[in-house]
């Protein structure tokens, strides 16, 4: 039974259908920045994207090669564990299905790894089947470095820390390996609709 706060009332206009706002979240219009350290700036000529781990032939794309891959525009709602949700965000990115096309792997898990040392883990099935992209543009503009540019993961069905900024590759693994926030008190899976924010949720 919750404690009622006398005099507390909804002040924000309910401008979103409730079925689009997970429990404990509120809708915002700006785009806050959250990250655990300084923003990395890797020059595009030094940037590459790799798929490594449980894969016979590791894959690697330079920026030019990556940008030559077919990409999609996707519009999705995103949900940050710090409580904000942003609806109808528009991204341009390469589907992970495209990157993994033809890969035969025994891996059931994947670790996203980034410039700056950030990692985040999830089941492989959560980034395949049209559920995840490596995004390089937001709202029609090249992705700003504060928001993870030149490229970041977009895995919108999980809390947004599961969408690594400054991503440089995917490591396919047969075992699950908790990443940066997952070893620092945050939930291993992070489903916003089940409010899986912290360990034990």
């Amino acid at each position: 039974m919750s404690i009622i706060s006398r005099g507390f009332r909804r002040r924000r206009v309910a401008d979103a259908p409730p079925d689009r706002v997970p429990p404990g979240q509120y809708v915002i219009r700006d785009f806050p920045v959250l990250s655990a350290g300084p923003t990395p700036h890797t020059p595009l000529e030094q940037w590459d994207f790799s798929i490594v781990g449980a894969i016979d032939e590791p894959r690697r794309w330079t920026w030019e090669e990556f940008r030559a891959l077919p990409s999609q525009e996707v519009t999705r709602d995103i949900h940050c564990v710090t409580k904000w949700s942003k609806l109808d965000t528009v991204w341009q990115g390469v589907s992970v299905d495209t990157l993994l096309d033809g890969v035969d792997t025994s891996a059931e898990y994947v670790v996203q790894y980034s410039d700056g040392g950030y990692t985040t883990n999830l089941p492989l099935e959560d980034i395949t089947g049209g559920k995840a992209w490596v995004a390089f543009a937001y709202d029609g503009e090249p992705l700003h470095s504060e928001h993870g540019g030149p490229a970041r993961m977009l895995v919108p069905h999980l809390y947004f820390w599961k969408s690594a900024k400054w991503v440089r590759g995917l490591r396919l693994q047969t075992w699950d390996e908790p990443g940066f926030w997952e070893t620092n008190g945050y939930h291993n899976y992070g489903d916003p609709w089940r409010e899986q924010r912290y360990w034990g949720d």
Binding site: I3, I4, V33, S35, G37, T39
Partner: protein
């Protein structure tokens, strides 16, 4: 990078207001008593939850400003004028009221006295809160870790915890203020935004490998972290936490 041991779910707990202190025009510190509080580490935060009479609920995160102290904990709240939660906390909440809270949360932006120093703490406005927990813990634990605090505020009236920082200053803790929007007569601190030159003057050198914690609004944190990297500090020694106007 060891995580905090969390035993089971972080459940919502009743937290009773035992004190409300005015810090500045827009800022209050609220002290709560949480009977089953399991303790926290300096730098961690809590989630709070308010429930309206019609069942509507709102959750927000706040850094803990106090050092571990039994069942007591302090949250320092900036009133966001068009916010939903912060005006309630600063304007309505009174001694004896209860709200719900769960935590402590976060195992990264934390400091333990056993980690030692040197420490470089850089705060913008209410970003001082989790750094104040570290400064207070340093004092209560009798730590001799060399600590520099560079604290940017708008005006002298906006300096949060000013008296307490004055009292703690010295003996291995050096407090340096920067005011960005005007300075009182006789001001001896910095009179501009934090920049690389200031960080080089105040902070330990990169060779001393300070543990650096930066907290404040996003543009502030971006600028400070970039300047530190440019000065030669290892990015992996710089921990950041960002506050935005969103979250009110």
């Amino acid at each position: 990078m060891a995580g905090t041991a969390v035993l089971g779910r972080l459940t919502w707990q009743a937290a009773q207001v035992v004190d409300v202190v005015v810090e500045t025009r827009h800022v209050k510190t609220i002290t709560f008593d949480v009977p089953d509080w399991r303790g926290h580490r300096a730098g961690q935060h809590v989630d709070i939850r308010l429930t309206a009479e019609d069942g509507y609920q709102a959750e927000r995160s706040y850094s803990i400003a106090s050092a571990p102290d039994g069942s007591r904990l302090e949250l320092t709240v900036v009133r966001i004028d068009d916010g939903e939660v912060s005006p309630y906390l600063t304007d309505e909440l009174q001694r004896g009221d209860q709200i719900e809270l769960r935590g402590p949360i976060g195992g990264y932006f934390v400091w333990e006295p056993s980690q030692g120093g040197p420490l470089l703490l850089v705060a913008g406005g209410s970003g001082i809160a989790p750094l104040m927990a570290m400064i207070r813990l340093r004092a209560t634990a009798g730590s001799d870790a060399q600590t520099r605090l560079l604290f940017s505020s708008r005006s002298s009236d906006d300096i949060i915890y000013r008296n307490e920082l004055d009292q703690l200053n010295g003996g291995g803790l050096q407090v340096v203020h920067a005011l960005t929007d005007g300075q009182p007569p006789g001001w001896t601190g910095y009179a501009r935004r934090v920049d690389a030159e200031m960080l080089a003057e105040v902070g330990p050198s990169p060779a001393e490998r300070p543990r650096t914690y930066v907290c404040g609004p996003t543009p502030f944190v971006e600028a400070v972290a970039e300047a530190l990297v440019r000065l030669g500090h290892n990015p992996r020694t710089i921990k950041t936490e960002r506050f935005g106007p969103t979250g009110g």
